[in-house]
Each structure stands twice: as structure tokens, then as C-alpha cells.
């Protein structure tokens, strides 16, 4: 097995780009010329899908750009973009790029001090935001961000009485743009023409699990070449429909809902609100879809709750056919032959169950669906594959323009992330860390050459993930390299591996496993309030709050079974079988990015948690079965309060390997 892999060297595009089509504003203009009346982006508003064509897309962006120009926007200026996925905000990105500026999208649920750091660090002069909620936050931090000059909002609701001079509605900005455009004909086109492929196209701040966020600079070339390579490998066309519902600040959304849409001309659909995503998904029926495992889990949990509530004959029918589908999918994933009876049953199930179910989920027209970010549970992965959905795993990070490895359509596995994408080279270092090099590799961290140097060596980027290639050249990721640890007696222990196994249970939302230099592994578990709540209701178990539910002895027993399941499954992993979870507790509050316990992209901040919950951790290793805690919580508006609770601790069963 060789160390470095270079995939399909034949079919990928190198670094040379047509100078007439080497930036996103130029490409969008080309789309407007090529298919002016094709729908570029839709937004559900007032219960109706409002559509904008490529001509509208460019025209709207042009007016925003001219409006910014009228306000004195200079090449290289940054525009902060904050809000849910809205056409107006995508236009603001394109408008900023058109003027040679750099859009800096922020997570819309960031609290003030996070916004302050990024606005200040990025030196943003302008901000384009969705609504009053974001305006309020920006006005709060504005005093400490002197470079921020103007805040442009899209939705004027509730802002009637705001008198701050820096505020401006998007409609007003576009009106300014209209007038500026009349006085300066050809301004927009000239500015667009000045752009080059090596200009920075976006700065994505990555919510590091340690320390302050870093601003990853990606050039137009990075995104165009990587986007195109994926488009040709995956056979994406202008007719795709995608739903844009993941945060705009996340590179994945930028790649799928902005870069690839402009590259192919496909249609992006913005949901009505974050609460309507599942309904909107069904109305749109996307053909190209991306979601982290948690979303697939949420959908599956919702389905299972509804099936459990259905009338017994229906319930039995669905259960039976899902079992058939699971068997078939398992055999297919394992490259085994499917027996004739199962093939016939599967065909019947497609008519009776799978088709209607897929239709209900809005996944009927999917040609390509991805999951990434975290390991996906086998049951979860099999469930979607079993329904006949082309769900595949993908590996990537912000620094690689979102993509490193993608599974091929005809070669999908449960435990790998597939071979490298065309144009990407991947190798595994001596210490087991995954390194990559590609045309998509980022320009550098903004104003942080030190961090850039640490991450990048001769174009090779340190991923920070531990992994290896299997015999077929598929990359397999084990854990974050620095998280793999050892117990006090030297037993190997991979916390994320255990946590992911725990999270495969619908009842577990989040888990933190501890064990470094400790005698055994212990776990802090967050229950999934929706699934456990429904489970409790069906049993007539009354509860008042999350904290109350989490501390019910019955719920502890439920989760204990899940922990036991994980422990039992460890027996199959000779290297990890001695790191079973001995004791666990259910946290009295949900881990929350507002409290800095997890990042906005839901990665655990271990050091912070270990410190904050030190009392709980100590109790897990002391022979106690109860501990009382007080935790500080941060509300969405930034205020804080405390939650007090008595937390139980329980033991799980530890299994010994059967002696042969």
C-alpha cells in the first residue's frame, strides 16, 4: 500500500482558467447571458415560492454593488454577511466580490462577543444582515468595532424607530445603487472585469475547538477548480435543485449553494424559516442534497415517532418492509448477493413503503446526497441507502475548499470516506495524520501567518485527523489526531469513536467521553429531548423540564441500555475493547454553542467542558451516585443565568471478550 494517492489524474482540471470566466461575478454574468430566464434562486415567502432568474440574480447583485460603491466601497473591503439563507444575502456576497471586495459570512446565531471578534479581526467596513435581531447585535458591538461603517438590513420589520445613522435598508441601498449606476454607466462591468482568479473570494471563520476563530481565505481559483472537479465527477447539471438551509458561514453551504450553483447554473431554494426546512424540503424535492448526520438522525427520529404512533397494521407493514430494506442494503454495502425472495420483497416494498416514505421526506428525486462532518451511524446510513437514496460520505474541511474525498456512486462503503477527489493528493504522515494537497488548498489564514505556517508545509495541509488508506485506496478517518488517548494503564482510547457510537442512538443527542490518564472511561451524556420525551409520553411518564426528564431513573435505564450496546459492540474491535464505558451520567442541560461548550458547527470543546464540569467528572471517578451542580447558562440575547440540579451517576455493564 503506497502512502500517497492521486486520484483520476486524467479527468481533472488544472490551475488554468479562462480569464473571462475566472471569478464568480464573471461566471454569474455569463449565466445571465446564457440562460437569462432560468430560475437561479427561490425563496419561500408569504407561503409562495418566489423565484428569481439568473437575470434577476445579476441585476439585484449589480444594484447592491452600485449602492455599496455609492457609499465608498473600495477594492479589498470586507462585507460581513449575517442571517439565514436568503437570496438577498447571496446577492450581497456576489456584489461584494464584483467590487473586488471580500464577503465574510458569520454564523447567524453567534452571540455578540463572537461577532465582535470576527468583525474587528476581519476589519469589515460594511455589514449586510437579515433582520432586526442581527441589527440589534451589530449595534451593540459597533462601538467596539470602529471600522464598521454601515449596516444594511433586508427585513425592515421592527426597525421603523431606529435612528442610527449607520443603518440603511437594502431597498434604500439598491435605490442609491440605481442612481449611482445612472451617473456612472459601465462602473459595475468595469469593476467586475478587474477581478482575477487569485483574488480572495471569501473569508470563512472556522469556529476552532480551541482558541479564537481563524479566517480561512479562499480564492476564486480555489473554489472554481474544486467546485468544477466535483461537478464533473458527480455529473451535476444545470437542472439540479438544492435546498440552502445550512449556515451561510459554513464552507459547505458556500460551495453547494453559491459556488457550484453559479458554476453550473442550478437552482438554489431558500426555506421559509429555519423551522420549516423539512416541509420546504418536501415541496422542493431536491436532487442534490447535503446534510450532517444530525439532520439525517432528526429526520429518521421524526419518522420513527410517527410510525410508532401509527395504527398497528400500518406500523407492522412499515416495520416489516424496512427490515427487508435494511437486509438488502446491508448485503449490497457488504458486496454480497441478495437472495431472490428479498429482491422480490424489496420491489414490493418500493411501491408500498419506500416510495411513499421518500416522497414524504422530500427525498424522492435525490440523485446525489452527502453526509459529512461526523461519522454516520451504521443504522442511519443503512436506513437511507435501504430506501434507495444515493447517500454517500464525503470528507473535507474549510481549508480544502470543502472537498477532499467523495465516495464514488458505485463504490459506497460504511466505514470510509472514499478515494480523493480528482486533483486532490492525500497522504498519511509517519504519525498517522492525514495530509492533503490540491488546487483548492486555501490561500492562508487572514492576518495569521503563524497559524498558516503551522498548518501548511510545501502546499501540504495538516488535517489534524488520524486516518489510513484501506486496501482499495479509500480513506478511513479514525478520530481527531490529538484526541486519541490512553487510560492510566496504557489502554488505547478513542473518545470520538465511542461518542459517535453513543450518538447513533436516537435517544442520545451529544456525548462526551473522558478517560485520558484515568482508570476507566466515563461518559457525560445529553439526551435527545424530542425522542426521549416522546418515549416518556408513550409510557405515561410525566416530566416538567429537560432537567427533570434527564434525571428520571427510567431514562437512566434507557440510556444504560444504549451504553451497554456500545460496550458490547466494542468487543469486535480488539484494540479498543478494553476501553468500555464504566460509569455515566445524564447532563442536566444541553450542551450549547452559546455557552461555548460546542462550536457553532457542533464540535465538542473538550478542554472547556472538562473544566466547566470538573465537579461532575470528579464525581464520575469517585464512588458517588449523586452530585449536585450549578451551571451558568447564556441566553440567546447574551444574558446569563444559573441552572441548579442534582445529577445521578450510574454504572454500565462491562463485557468480557468470549474466550474462544
Amino acid at each position: 500500500m503506497s502512502d500517497a494517492r492521486r486520484a483520476g489524474a486524467a479527468a481533472h482540471e488544472g490551475g488554468t482558467l479562462d480569464p473571462r470566466l475566472d471569478t464568480f461575478p464573471k461566471l454569474a454574468q455569463a449565466n445571465a447571458a446564457r440562460f437569462p430566464d432560468k430560475v437561479a434562486i427561490r425563496e419561500k415567502d408569504y407561503g409562495v415560492w418566489q423565484a428569481y432568474t439568473w437575470r434577476d440574480y445579476v441585476e439585484q447583485s449589480r444594484l447592491i454593488a452600485l449602492g455599496l460603491a455609492a457609499l465608498g466601497f473600495r477594492r479589498g473591503d470586507k462585507t460581513a454577511i449575517v442571517g439565514d439563507n436568503r437570496p438577498q444575502l447571496y446577492w450581497a456576497m456576489l456584489a461584494t466580490q464584483a467590487l473586488g471586495g471580500v464577503p465574510v459570512p458569520l454564523y447567524q446565531d453567534s452571540i455578540e462577543r463572537e461577532m465582535e471578534f470576527i468583525l474587528e479581526h476581519a476589519e469589515a467596513r460594511f455589514a449586510v444582515v437579515e433582520d432586526q435581531e442581527q441589527v440589534d447585535k451589530l449595534l451593540q458591538v459597533k462601538a467596539r468595532c470602529p471600522r464598521l461603517e454601515r449596516i444594511v438590513y433586508d427585513d425592515p420589520r421592527g426597525l421603523r424607530h431606529y435612528r442610527d445613522d449607520c443603518l440603511l435598508s437594502l431597498a434604500e441601498l439598491q435605490e442609491l445603487g440605481r442612481r449611482f449606476g445612472a451617473q456612472h454607466p459601465g462602473w459595475f462591468e468595469q469593476e467586475v472585469a478587474r477581478g482575477t482568479s487569485d483574488d480572495v473570494a471569501i473569508i470563512c471563520y472556522t469556529s476552532g475547538t480551541t482558541g479564537q476563530p481563524k479566517g480561512t481565505m479562499l480564492s476564486h481559483r480555489n473554489l472554481i477548480v474544486t467546485g468544477r472537479n466535483a461537478i464533473s465527477q458527480e455529473g451535476l447539471r444545470a437542472t439540479e435543485e438544492v435546498v440552502a438551509y445550512l449556515p451561510m458561514a459554513w464552507i459547505g453551504d458556500h460551495m453547494f449553494s453559491f459556488a457550484q450553483s453559479i458554476l453550473t447554473g442550478f437552482t438554489v431554494n431558500c426555506p421559509e424559516s429555519s423551522a420549516t426546512v423539512l416541509q420546504d424540503l418536501r415541496e422542493i424535492g431536491p436532487t442534490y442534497f447535503f446534510a450532517p448526520p444530525t439532520i439525517y438522525q432528526t429526520v429518521l427520529t421524526a419518522v420513527m415517532i410517527r410510525i410508532d404512533d401509527a395504527a398497528p397494521p400500518k406500523r407492522r407493514l412499515v416495520r416489516a418492509f424496512l427490515e427487508v430494506a435494511r437486509r438488502v442494503a446491508q448485503r449490497r454495502l457488504g458486496r454480497a448477493r441478495v437472495p431472490l425472495t428479498d429482491r422480490l420483497l424489496y420491489a414490493l416494498g418500493r411501491v408500498l413503503v419506500y416510495g411513499p416514505l421518500k416522497d414524504n421526506l422530500g427525498l424522492n428525486r435525490i440523485r446525489v446526497a452527502y453526509t459529512a462532518g461526523e461519522a454516520i451511524g451504521p443504522e442511519l446510513f443503512e436506513f437511507y441507502r435501504a430506501l434507495g437514496i444515493n447517500l454517500k460520505q464525503l470528507y473535507g474541511m474549510t481549508e480544502s475548499s470543502a472537498l477532499i474525498c467523495i465516495q464514488r456512486d458505485d463504490d459506497v462503503r460504511l466505514d470510509t470516506v472514499g478515494p480523493p477527489l480528482a486533483g486532490v493528493e492525500v497522504r498519511v504522515s509517519e504519525s498517522g495524520e492525514v495530509l492533503y494537497r490540491s488546487p483548492g488548498v486555501f490561500v492562508g489564514y487572514y492576518k495569521n501567518p503563524e497559524a498558516t505556517r503551522r498548518t501548511m508545509e510545501d502546499g501540504w495541509v495538516h488535517s489534524g485527523d488520524a486516518g489510513f488508506f484501506d486496501k482499495d485506496g479509500h480513506l478511513r478517518i479514525i478520530d481527531r489526531a490529538r484526541d486519541v488517548g490512553r487510560l492510566a494503564d496504557g489502554t488505547l482510547f478513542a473518545p470520538k469513536y465511542l461518542e459517535n457510537k453513543l450518538k447513533f442512538s436516537p435517544y442520545v443527542r451529544e456525548a462526551v467521553c473522558i478517560g485520558q490518564d484515568r482508570p476507566y472511561v466515563a461518559a457525560l451524556v445529553n439526551i435527545n429531548a424530542l425522542a426521549v420525551g416522546s418515549w416518556a409520553e408513550r409510557r405515561g411518564l410525566a416530566y416538567t423540564s429537560y432537567t427533570d426528564l434527564a434525571q428520571k431513573p427510567e431514562v437512566y435505564e434507557l440510556i444504560r441500555q444504549e451504553v451497554n450496546r456500545v460496550n458490547r459492540s466494542l468487543l469486535e474491535e480488539p484494540r479498543l475493547r478494553n476501553a468500555q464505558i464504566r460509569r455515566f451520567l445524564l447532563l442536566h442541560k444541553e450542551l450549547d454553542p452559546d455557552d461555548q461548550e460546542i462550536t457553532r458547527s457542533r464540535k465538542l470543546r473538550r478542554a472547556f467542558i472538562a473544566d466547566k464540569y470538573a465537579a461532575l467528572v470528579d464525581a464520575l471517578y469517585a464512588e458517588r451516585d449523586r452530585v449536585s451542580v450549578e451551571a451558568k447558562v447564556t441566553y440567546e440575547d447574551g444574558r446569563t443565568g444559573t441552572v441548579r440540579a442534582d445529577v445521578r451517576i450510574r454504572e454500565a455493564d462491562v463485557f468480557a471478550a468470549a474466550t474462544p
Partner: protein, 287 residues
């Protein structure tokens, strides 16, 4: 399952109309004659004197809170204003016209809408249909045309639906548009009830304990909605509420009832310091 067959074209350059774009009564009218005058109204139920000679003026564009201990006659006052009860003595004038004896549906037609202390939605109907019922007084048309859903009837239905969709957007209940109202959590039902009241495009909105039984977050949302309604639509609002922090936050004026009598009426800070109010309602201060 294709996305909305014919895309609805939105003219280029139009960003987001929003409810704010519509015309709105000038707040300047606040100084004009009162929108509602309750003049020496008494209500009796048998031997119980629910209201005795209560007078209250509500000016255009105001948010007035009516507070008082249990049984003080707050809900009775709202019921008298909305025409559900008729006073035993006294007068009620709306926009200067006497309407003391009008029945509830006639009062509603004059632009008075309300919500109820115990949510009174059609539980089996969807949120959308519930709000549509708020448009009933604004629907014109013949039984036949409605039945055929043809011509003017169709146009009218679409216009009403468009109006209701704006309210759904305004109150952020898009996610439950098609959900039967009875299945919603309590806080959301209250919001739907507010939407239904707003669907009648009222000039005077009566809210009977809009925040009862809500948690802090739901209360904050509801406060914001009430302020936004007042702000965006210029609706005059009279509300009964027990949560004093809410009352102090959102109302411009507070009227206090105790045993059927009005014992105070004025800006929140003044009412809070009024010794009679402190004695009757907030508890006697010990210091």
C-alpha cells in the same frame, strides 16, 4: 412533487415588501378625540356588582393595560367593550358614536377584535383556516359564487389568503400553517389567536391575558409581537395582564381595577407608586 409549477415572478428591484410597506394610520391622530370612551359603566350579575361606574378613555394608537386582582372586573370590562355584555348603566362610545347596545358581531364589524383568556380556537381546523375565519367580516360574495369558487369569489379568496399569509409571516408561524390548531403548544395557540384577531384588521384590539401560562421566552416573543402590531399596523391595544414586568414594559398607560372600581389610571411609573394601587394589588409595602 415539482416545486411550485409556475414560478411567481417578482419584479426585479423589489427587495422585500413586508407588512411595513403598507399604508399605516398616522400616529399623530393620538392627540385627537379618544377612540373609545367608556363612561360610568356598571355591570351586575344578580347581586354581584362586577363593575361600578367605571370610566376609561383609550386614545388612538395607545397600548393600555388593565390590571387588578382576581375578580376585579377586568374581563367583564373587555366583555362590555366588545359587546358581549351590555352595561346596566353608563355609555360606550366608539369613535365618538354611541354603541352601548350593539351586539357583539356589530361591534366586531366596527373594528373591535379580541382574544380570549382561555384560547378559543377551532381545534380541528388548521392554523391557516383559523386565521381565515378572522376575515369573515371582510368577505363579500354570494353563496353561489363562493360555492363555485369562480370569478370574484376566487379573486376575493386569493386576496384574503394573501393578507393572512402576511400575518403568518409577521407572527412567525409559517412552520405550523397547515397544523390543526389543537395540536399546537399553548404559547403558539395564543399567537394564532392573535393572528386571527388581526385578520379582522381591527382598529381596537382587546387582549385578555395574552401571556398567561407562558414561559419567559414565549412572553418575550409575545411582548415583541404586541409592540410590533402597534408599531406596524397602528392598532390600538387594550390588554389585561398579570405579569407586572410585562405591563410596565409595554404599556403607555395602566388602568387599575379593584372590586369593580377604577382606582388608578396613568403612566406605569405613576401607577406603580400610587399608594391605593400598592395597597390593593401589589401588596402593602413594608419598610
Amino acid at each position: 412533487m415539482s416545486p411550485a409549477g409556475d414560478p411567481v415572478r417578482v419584479p426585479a428591484g423589489a427587495t422585500r415588501p413586508g407588512p411595513a410597506a403598507g399604508p399605516r394610520p398616522e400616529p399623530a391622530a393620538r392627540d385627537g378625540p379618544p377612540l373609545l370612551e367608556v363612561d360610568g359603566v356598571s355591570v351586575r350579575f344578580g347581586a354581584v356588582q362586577a363593575l361600578s361606574r367605571v370610566s376609561l378613555e383609550i386614545r388612538r394608537g395607545e397600548i393600555v393595560a388593565i390590571i387588578g386582582p382576581n375578580g376585579a372586573g377586568k374581563t367583564t370590562l373587555l366583555n362590555v367593550i366588545s359587546g358581549f355584555y351590555h352595561p346596566w348603566e353608563g355609555r360606550i362610545r366608539l369613535e365618538g358614536k354611541d354603541r352601548t347596545r350593539l351586539p357583539a358581531h356589530a361591534v366586531a364589524a366596527l373594528g373591535v377584535a379580541r382574544t380570549f383568556q382561555n384560547v378559543a380556537l377551532f381545534k380541528g381546523m388548521t392554523v391557516l383556516d383559523n386565521i381565515m375565519t378572522g376575515r369573515v367580516l371582510r368577505m363579500r360574495g354570494s353563496f353561489l359564487l363562493e360555492g363555485l369558487y369562480w370569478g370574484p369569489a376566487r379573486r376575493q379568496e386569493l386576496a384574503h389568503r394573501a393578507f393572512v399569509e402576511r400575518l403568518i409571516d409577521f407572527l412567525e408561524i409559517q412552520a405550523v400553517r397547515k397544523t390543526p390548531a389543537g395540536r399546537l403548544p399553548y404559547g403558539l395557540q395564543k399567537r394564532v389567536e392573535l393572528a386571527r384577531a388581526l385578520a379582522a384588521e381591527p382598529t381596537l384590539l382587546l387582549l385578555d391575558e395574552p401571556m398567561a401560562g407562558m414561559n419567559v421566552e414565549e412572553k418575550e416573543d409575545m411582548c415583541r409581537f404586541i409592540l410590533d402590531v402597534n408599531d406596524e399596523f397602528g392598532t390600538t391595544i387594550a390588554l389585561i395582564e398579570h405579569d407586572m414586568s410585562v405591563v410596565m414594559d409595554i404599556s403607555e398607560r395602566v388602568a387599575v381595577l379593584d372590586y369593580g372600581r377604577k382606582i388608578a389610571d396613568g403612566p406605569p411609573e405613576a401607577v406603580r407608586k400610587d399608594p391605593a394601587v400598592i395597597a390593593a394589588y401589589l401588596g402593602v409595602a413594608r419598610d
